[in-house]
Structure formats: C-alpha cells, structure tokens
C-alpha cells in the first residue's frame, strides 16, 4: 500500500499536535481544583511486561481523555462548597454530568460531611468524596478543610496548611 506524502504530512502534524497538547496539559493551572482527587484520571492504564513507546503514548492518551471534564469539575466544586456551607453532618450531595462529545461518558460524584471538629487547627470539617465514571471507575477520598484565621473561607488541610502550624 502506498501512502501519499501529503497524508503522511497530515498524520505527522496530528502526532506533533498531540505531543504538544500533552506537554501543555501538564502546564495547566491547578487553581480550579478544590481537592487532589479531581486531578486523578478515571481509567485503568494498560499494564504490559515490556512497554514500548506506543504503550506509553496510549496510556498518556487514556489518562488525558478520562480526566474529569471542566463542567463536571465545577459541579464537584459546587457540591463541596454547598456541603461545607451546610451546618449538618451526614447529608449527601450528589451530582451527575453526561459528556456527549465523542464517546458518551457519565460522570457522577457524591459528597458527605462525616465530621466537624474544633481543635488546635480551628474549626475543621472532614468529608468523604467519591467520583466515578459510568459507575465503573470509582475514586474515593477522605478530605479535611479548616476555617481560615479570619473565618472567611475554608482552607484545604494539606501540606501547606500543616506547614503553617
């Protein structure tokens, strides 16, 4: 089979574009993420004994294409915000987002505040969160946020928070 030179050029340019996209996807801003859970991809990567360049690229593509979409991320952030503003513990907040562009994917998430405490860190709330894709790939985490010293906003209790203690 003879592939026209023009077609090879198009394929190459697409491949280069994909590589540039992968490069810049790592440089994107992370300020939109309320919790580290939403950074993770909802998929299983291909595990082979002898990975070659193609395997690495396919895995990169799988991880990139199954990340939480922007609209779903906004819904998850809104659910966290609503849960934190609600004084009750044990109330479940649920969201769902259907992605119809390309292959249909159903993203969903749940938030539930399980503990509110007042200790040396101040007022802190701990919640269970879960995000899933097509009810198949499920990620779960336990996250804590504490009220800032000026009591105006909740700050994620991560390494930066504990470094200030």
């Amino acid at each position: 089979m003879v592939i026209p030179i023009g077609l090879i050029g198009i394929m190459l340019s697409r491949f280069v574009f994909f590589l540039i996209l992968l490069f810049f996807s790592h440089c994107s801003s992370t300020s939109n993420h309320f919790t580290p859970l939403t950074h993770r991809s909802l998929t299983n990567i291909i595990e082979v004994d002898n990975p070659v360049l193609a395997t690495v690229l396919i895995n990169k593509y799988l991880l990139y294409s199954n990340k939480l979409p922007e609209k779903a991320l906004k819904k998850h952030n809104a659910a966290i915000h609503t849960a934190l503003m609600d004084v009750r513990n044990g109330v479940t907040f649920y969201w769902q987002h259907k992605k119809t562009k390309g292959v249909d994917k159903l993203f969903s998430g749940k938030i539930k505040i399980v503990n509110t405490s007042r200790d040396s860190r101040g007022v802190c709330r701990t919640w269970l969160e879960e995000i899933s894709r097509d009810n198949r790939y499920i990620l779960t985490a336990v996250t804590t946020a504490c009220l800032s010293k000026d009591k105006k906003k909740y700050v994620l209790a991560d390494e930066f928070f504990y470094d200030q203690l």
Binding site: L37, D49, V52, L128, A141
Partner: protein
Amino acid sequence: MFWLMNFFMTNYKILLLFFLILTPSCADWRVAMKAKKHGCNVPSTNYAFLEIAGIEPTGTTKDFTGYYKYFTYIFKKPFFDVEDRCRHSRIVVHALNENNDFKVFKWSNKNKKTSGKAVVTMTREYGRKICKDYYSFISKETKGYVYQGTACLGPHSSLSQKAIAFNDHWIFYPYKTNQSGGRPILESWGTLNDIDHPDIRKSKYKFHCTRTPWRCR
C-alpha cells in the same frame, strides 16, 4: 595543559576506577545504609534509598526505569547526614507514639542549618491495629521537602500494601487518600474488599437505596 591531557589519555582506566570508588563512598547510599544500621530509617528522610533498595529486576523493559533511578541516586549528594537522619527519625516516632494529633514536633540544628518537624493528621483505630497518617517536613538552608505517609501498629497482613520500613514497632506504608494505607485490603476495579475490618466508607456512607436507587447501582 598538554601533559595533563597525555596523563589522562594514558591513565584513564585508573582515573575511572578511582572515580567509581570515590563517588559512591560520598553518596547518599552510604549515609542511608549507616542510618539504617542505627535504626534511623523512617521513610521521610530515606525515601529515595528505600525506593532504590526495593527495586527488583523483572527481566522486562521496565527495568530501565529502575536503572535510571539507581544511577541518578548513587551520584546524589546526601540531604541529611546520619546524625540529622536519626534526629528526624526520633521526632517522627515520638509524634506517632504521642496520643496528640495535630501537635507539631520540631528539631533544628543551627550549626548545619538543618531542621525538621512532624505532625500526625489522623489516627484510625481498627479491630486489631491502629494507623496514623502524618506529614514530615525536612529542610536544609533554603531547600525543603515534605512527605506524607501512614504508620501502623499491629499485625502486618499479606494482603496489606508493601511496607516501606519498620521502626520501633511501627510499620510504614505509602499514604492512600481512601484510608486504605496499612489495612489488609484487596483493591481491584474500584471495589474495596476488607477481610479483617469493616469498611469505613460503606458504614458511614449509606444512601437511601429505596428512594434513590440510582445512587446505589
């Protein structure tokens, strides 16, 4: 200048041998081995060493990553010496032994401009074991590193994740966001099957399956 080049060209094998002998002797490996011998091997100060020491050859192309990590590590300058590693290990174990979450335990060495601190962020009790999540901070002059890990007291099941280190009855595991660090859990396809202990997520996370069945599918 010419004689130097000539000397190098004729005696390059001897120079290479000296280089290979001297470089690892001042590298992080030697310091880490010494710290381990003294029982100062909590993962927060020896993480790279413990990772390298745990690499096993698989006979596949995955080994290249291991080789790369190994060769970049053996030429690394140690961040802490044995004395500081022992100080930090003691602080981490002390923070774990104290029944006081969120209390910050610190040490500092003004002569070497090094310091460290440890804080326990969560204590979890199970049927036969107790696990603690902690943060460890180490710094030298303007450079600093942070490590998040889990340490457990109790039996180490074959289903638990691979332990990184053992120190003063504490077993150290990698940190997991879903609290499965150190617990005997078999995780596959997003389902958690805990044999010994009830699942915290399921016990605290009940939905109204009759009213909203789509949440329980």
